[in-house]
Symmetry: C2
Subunit: 514 residues, 2 copies
């Protein structure tokens, strides 16, 4: 009887939460925004993700907690719910991060705690009239936390001072904190030897301002094809981004432990979609994983109104970040981020179609139907022949019940697009922009024709598109009523100028892992 009721309940939950992504993290219930405190536990070989969390409602509100989830492979998640909460119901544990204090610089640990699990969280404690930086530590590897008794550890008497990101800087033997003096458009850089006493080193500003800065990050990122690395500064701006609302920008430069100096004055966007915000990297990630991070897949312009029910908001897929020198145009190469989605070992193909050499107009070049999850990936390499009629597009279309999203390439404009205009959820919202787009130089030339690559994932109510190995990305949410994974995904070509060199479409599912 109990099993039967549980089944009814489960069916009900699955219906109302029908657009929940499979691989991108969502909270089991309640409201979620920024990712926080991501770290890798190298003892248990486990990725930890924390997140801004209101378990009591599906809109932002206080008391605001850090939620907590873990994953063996960054694709299958286990959610533990609220983990660090404020002292008063009107307060919030705002964004921040976690470091692994191997050497017990903080003094919070004794020898009984494995050095790989000496977990210290640094976050903004928010009250109605203050934002100060607090510390908490975990004696059980990140599942429960003790608040430091002498909090706050940093207070500059400014009510818009938040979102610390801390990391160990080996060359200067100190902890570094980057944090936003949000409304002064300053990213402040502090140093500490013990995580509790901080001194100001420098300030950084630049690029797009918007209304304010939030959620900075600073990390050393390898340059592909070299033994070198550069430092990358991430800054979230909201509202007032050029695309409307929330957006992430980044800067490439050098960091000596005291000052971040950008290599140039270029303003770079991390993503050309509407739903990529508050990106943050994992601390202590294993060397072979490289630089790994993820963002909140939403936009404050409409985040609280997204038509999901038991839960609201997902993260993006985890992405691996590298730098590469790539052409912006035929004359100039610049260093840019390459972002690649991570598919853990739990992700397997439920279904797969591969096709090569599709030329000209083919309205249903490839079509895959839902068999299992309705979560799809697509990977297309194509060339463009400008001597042919360029009318029409290469499109990947996915949907059901007459609604659909599409991603594609338009030979006339020579640009990529994602279009969520044929979906009804949030259509009336004045900020839910239908079309976003990006320009990239050809991936290579073959037989004198430009060749491009478009990889994408459609996961629940999220589409993430990666162009030419991730030199530009487009991340957008969409809301098709009654979705439990989409019914189909097809590749269409309506242009004689497009030649699909190769394509692979998969339906993805998760298998149980050890």
């Amino acid at each position: 009887m109990r099993a039967f009721l549980a089944l009814i309940f489960l069916t009900f939950v699955m219906n109302v939460e029908s657009s929940r992504p499979l691989m991108a993290f969502t909270p089991s219930h309640g409201w979620m925004n920024d990712p926080n405190g991501q770290f890798y536990d190298s003892k248990n070989e486990l990725w930890h993700l924390y997140y801004q969390y209101n378990p009591n409602d599906t809109v932002w509100g206080t008391p605001l907690y850090w939620g907590h989830a873990t994953s063996k492979d960054l694709s299958t998640w286990k959610d533990y719910g609220a983990t660090i909460g404020p002292d008063r119901d009107e307060d919030g544990i705002f964004s921040g991060n976690i470091v692994v204090d191997h050497n017990n610089t903080s003094g919070f640990f004794n020898d009984s705690i494995d050095p790989r699990q000496r977990v210290v969280a640094i976050y903004t404690y928010n009250t109605e009239g203050s934002q100060t930086q607090h510390v908490a530590y975990s004696l059980d590897g990140g599942y429960t936390f003790e608040k430091y008794e002498h909090n706050p550890v940093l207070d500059v008497d400014n009510i818009n001072f938040r979102d610390p990101k801390v990391f160990w800087h080996e060359p200067t033997n100190q902890w570094i904190m980057v944090i936003a003096l949000s409304q002064q458009f300053k990213i402040q850089i502090y140093g500490s030897i013990d995580l509790t006493n901080w001194s100001l080193h420098s300030n950084f500003t630049g690029g797009l301002f918007g209304f304010q800065y939030e959620c900075p990050g600073l990390i050393e990122v390898p340059v592909e094809g070299t033994d070198e690395s550069k430092w990358v500064m991430f800054i979230a701006i909201n509202p007032g981004s050029p695309l409307g609302g929330s957006s992430n920008q980044y800067f490439i430069g050098s960091f000596d432990g005291f000052e971040f100096v950008p290599d140039d004055s270029q303003a770079r966007l991390m993503d050309y979609g509407k739903d990529f915000y508050a990106f943050q990297t994992f601390d202590n990630a294993p060397k072979e994983s490289g630089v790994v991070g993820l963002a909140w897949a939403s936009n404050w312009q409409y985040a609280n109104l997204a038509p999901t029910k038991e839960w609201r908001s997902s993260m993006t897929l985890a992405r691996q970040m590298t730098l590469a020198s790539r052409n912006m145009n035929p004359e100039t190469k610049v260093l840019s981020l390459l972002q690649k989605p991570i598919f853990g070992e739990s992700v397997v193909a439920a279904n797969k179609i591969s096709k090569r050499n599709i030329t000209g107009q083919d309205e249903q070049a490839v079509k895959i139907h839902k068999n299992s999850t309705g979560t799809f990936s697509f990977d297309i390499t194509f060339s463009v022949d400008s001597s042919k009629n360029q009318t029409g597009q290469l499109q990947v279309i996915s949907g059901q019940n007459g609604e659909s999203i599409r991603a594609g390439f338009d030979p006339t404009a020579g640009q990529f697009f994602v279009d969520r205009g044929n979906t009804s959820g949030l259509k009336e919202n004045p900020f839910f922009t239908d079309k976003t787009s990006a320009y990239v130089e050809p991936w290579k030339h073959q037989n004198d024709l430009p060749v491009y690559k478009m990889f994408g994932v459609i996961d629940g109510n999220l589409i993430e598109v990666f162009l030419n190995d991730g030199i530009a990305t487009l991340t957008n949410t969409f809301f098709i009523p009654g979705t439990e994974g989409l019914e189909y995904l097809e590749i269409e070509s309506s242009s004689d100028a497009i030649h699909i060199v190769e394509s692979e479409v998969k339906e993805l599912k998760l298998r149980a892992t050890s």
Copy 2:
């Protein structure tokens, strides 16, 4: 009989060209893109506008000319069509500008030419394999041109070297040219004493890169409320702007006749809509007019596909530019451009409705019907009470036949928007984004409530919205079939939080001027 046929022809033309703006300049027929060579003839008190022009088709193509138009007041235009053409059909007279060479530094003029009409054009001559800078001069005040016999005057052996903007720099007694080394993301600054011999002073780069730089500008702009002025550098980028495709950015700094040094590293957008590109100012504008300029109201992503017939593309309205120190948020003021639309003396109200003190939900707070032109302006000052239910929006809606555009403010998001999603023209185009938006701080506070101002013009197929005296603007084209000016404009409030302090809606028409 001839008059009768002319009338039939005119009626036909009016039908097929139904969405033609009234005040924003459009060519009588053919294709137009960037504004070029704008100058003011202070002898005849006449504004001259030139423009990139293909008279033989309604898509971009060669031979590409400079077209020419004049206006007494920047609102009523007289079009002269093709004025400077290339030597060969496959070439183009690309963008550039005009200066008034009062002192005959060029030696092109003799005493018979009034100093106020010594017109010299500097433009890019484009061939399939080269872009070089050429000069031409006019002995009749700008209606016909003689090409300089020793062209080119500047050739750096680069095929992406274009769009010179020249002005007289009084403190250093020289002509200054800013010009784009497009694909190196360099704005080069040259000096000359005679408009024909040029030497390189410096390079400038920064901000958003996109695929390439185009159409730079540099001009001294007064700072409101002070006796000071700053130099503003304009740069157009296309494609690859954050909003998709074409966009204009600007920098504020100092210029000593040799080098432009920006005050800060902020990247600033000139406009938050999709259709504002290649902005350029008028040379020799009278002091009382201040800094005056206009942009091409389109986007290369879809410009050639816009569903107009005999003509394609309009300019924006002329705008007056000043600088002002304004809050980006409660903690920080920065210097930003203020842009105000110019309505010449030929623009008069055909119809007007003014209303004050409209509170709460009022679905048809103000409604004005087409009487004359279907060109409307709206001017709304409103306050927002966050203690009340903020659901709903303040909206200005204009349309006909069930299609419409809207501009408004959403109290929940605290942001402004323009939405062209309910129009059918170009709807299928993957780059014709429906919704664009902007954040601005309140214009002022009254009775502790934030007060905002939204001014807008709906002129043919163009909507331009100016927030809080033009601290942010949103410029978008739209295409409603069968439009000959829209049928109505209404102000709606569906939010209890909105109080309309005052509003004025006008239908605008042009009267004949001397």
